[in-house]
Amino acid sequence: MSYRFFVNGDPVEVEVPGMRRLLDVLREDLALTGTKEGCGEGECGACSVLLDGAVVDSCLVPVCQVDGASVRTVEGLGSEQALNDLQAAFLETGGAQCGICTPGMLMAAEAFLATNGPSDDELIREAIAGNLCRCTGYTKIVEAIALAAAQRRAADPH
């Protein structure tokens, strides 16, 4: 079967079985290896991507459900030379250590920031509760997201 959707704004078309995991389509068919696999059963969140703006575990999404949709991955954020504000906040605070949970964590955080709602410690923790990190104790990740939220609010006060 052929499926057409958007990845980070670019149209893509893949010829694959409909039940192929979005994670494999991204990593193997589209060579976008920024999205990681940690458990393959939706527990760790390392494979989190945004599907039409909502955080999903790409290991649990068959590609047939993505037809016509818009997918955003870590490759759609800033580049090494020009990190976006959230990535820069992670770098500044020490929110990334081994880095394997980081792409998924960033996507969950992006979805949270996109809500433009309040961003206290508890709400941030709830937003990333589906993303496991074994290195940081979450302290500096929460700090990074709070920093990015404050910067975005300052840049665009409503």
Binding site: R27, A31, L32, T33, G34, T35, K36, E37, G38, C39, G40, E41, E43, C44, A46, T73, V74, E75, L77, G78, S79, E80, Q81, L83, Q87, F90, L91, E92, T93, G94, A96, Q97, C98, G99, I100, C101, T102, P103, L106, D121, I124, R125, E126, I128, A129, G130, N131, L132, C133, R134, C135, T136, G137, Y138, T139, K140, I141, V142
Partner: protein
Amino acid sequence: MTRILPAGTQELLATDPLLVPPGSRTPGRATQRGPLRREGPAKLTGVAKYADDLVFPGAWYGATVRSTQPHATLLAFDLDDAFDWSQVVLVTAADIPGDNVVSLIRDDQPILVPIGGEIRHQAEALCLIAAADRETLRAAKRHLGVRTERLPAVFDPLDSTEEFSHIEVRRGDLEAGFAQAELVIEGTYRVGHQEQLYIENQAMIAVPVADGGVTVHGSCQCPFYIHRALKRSLQLTDAQAVVVQAETGGGFGGKEEYPSVIALHAALLARKAGKAVRMIYDRHEDLSATTKRHPAVIHHRTGVMRDGTLVAQEIDVVMDGGGYCTLTPVVLSRGVLHAGGPYRCPNVRISGRSMATNTPPNGAFRGFGAPQTEFAAEMQVNRIAEALAVSPLELRRKWAYREGDTTPTGQVLRESVAAIEVLEAAAEASDFARHSAQTQNARAARQSGARLASGIGIAMGWHGAGFTGSGEVHIAGVASVELTDDGVVRVLTAQTEMGQGTKTIFPQLVAEELGLEPDAVENAPQDTSIVPDSGPTVASRTAMVVGGLIIKAARHLRAQVEAVTDRPFADSYRDFVLEHGALRVDEHFEPYPNVEFDDATYTGDAYPAFGWACAVARVEVDLDTGEVAVRDVVSADDAGRIIHPVLAEGQVEGGTLQAVGYATIEEIKLLDGRYLNDRLATYLIPTALDAPRIEAILVEKPFSGAPHGAKGIGELPMDVGAPAVVAAIHDATGVWIHDLPATAERILAAMTGAPVPDPPGVSVPAPEGGAA
């Protein structure tokens, strides 16, 4: 974050606690926050390449056929005729050209069990299959049968008669100590397995090379362990075996020794197939087959005087090594050496045994034996404080080591002792005395039917920095700094980055010595064909030991260049290269002065220096369900001079949460020697919502043996979190939980008298009539 900065800024070796004036600089120390994580941008953009991200066109997929018996004889493999075996490659023990041994301490673990050989645990590797695609591979596995004859299995280390190692540490006159004691308190503490749970599973890709060699790319802490294993079993020369570390998604000890197994498997398949072979474990296989923290049973008998003076400690440690020795004797050794806790005691006997059971082998995990024994030690201190009706904080003030004290091995703690400093820092930041009075009053006034109870608990610990005893001398690490033909300053070590910050602090340290910006110094890749063997990335030794070596190398490089150019290094090194070409300085490890240890008698300086830690935890316990929420933890840690505050805090925060998981929810249940909760849906680690608020306090008591005064930090926080949490549970509920983890079931059983759950770490036998 709070930071306490003792030690002078002028005199590098000074260890007197003085405040460093704000903004002043000390050698090797980051200005303010330190450079940003070197590989951070690559990790934050998805550009960093972990093993599974590496593409080798035409690579095959490899799989391991494992035992499903805890103890058996391997009789035969049955290949189903219905399957076309010509489309796959099958590797058995007969295909191993060299020694069929995973090269570690003892030569007991085969790479693959030979026909007629002994299977010693569930998940043991029996044979290997590789295929061009995953479907064919799965089909081949389905069509391969394994015939075995079951043997009786042993699951409890206390029932085992097969010993891997034993050691004993003695000081003073134990009998006289107990004769003098006015109060003797005993306790048995039991801890289960803990999984490292790096989020990146174990992964290796082997690529055959035309000269008969093999290059292995993968996730690991110790490239040269793998290098040695490949050379020995595949009969390769130094140059034929090449190990290249890929970006590594967490290790915590779990990628110290196990990667040798998976690298050997991938390399055997690759050589037979003549193709690159990918062996990427999924989470289920990783949890089922790879090493865990050693379960242990620890018995304490302690003699004290009524005034609280500690006069005798008798401690018996039994660790469960699992089916093979792996690193067990070294884990036991560290466990025993830390088992008394950071306390002065004139009469001590600590004996330790590590035993074999028919369970998957246990191995390295952050803390390496110390979290187990220090949990028991701190439980004992807190129970003694209760028996003496004194504050656990006050008792520790009385007992804690000061400079000049002697440890059970006879080591005189001449310098860098910060036990009191970390204790006071954590007690003050957590307002321990005030909260403690509040929770005690609340407990006294509590009505039956109350739903929630709060508690606060304290624990302290110590952690020997670097390898135990003569370990560093045996490793004889070499690290280098070079000026390349291109005029680039490059650090060459085998030290791997796995999130802890090696790639950031090494250039920082070298740049500081050379008067350069950190960005002007590069890291050579962790590739065994490029870097020298500076030893494994374990035992909190990277910053202290190898960091020290590269500082010395940089000093020599600077001196050599400046002797020729007669100008400061930073201004002249590029000119030097143009005129004189490349220059490299290899720095060899030299024993720390006045540090001597006798491995035979277990006496002397067990470690060149110790780090010190104290944690205070606050919990809320649901009195109806026994569920615990850990609300906050203050962890004060002394790792000597702090090189990079942000990275150091990250180590304390992450280690603290692993300790909280160990204390409350992380447990492996076994049936017939097989891990039952072998998926991430059933082996739980703390999420952001489960995690307490963690305050890291860095206390700095420099170590004079390292040029930068640094000691290790990674393992320290792991030693103290769990006993602090269990003390807080006691403070809330009035019950002591002697077994880790302190699950809701164990807490409820202690509170209500309901049947106590099975001890942690011990398998339930197979149901009657055979295998489970």
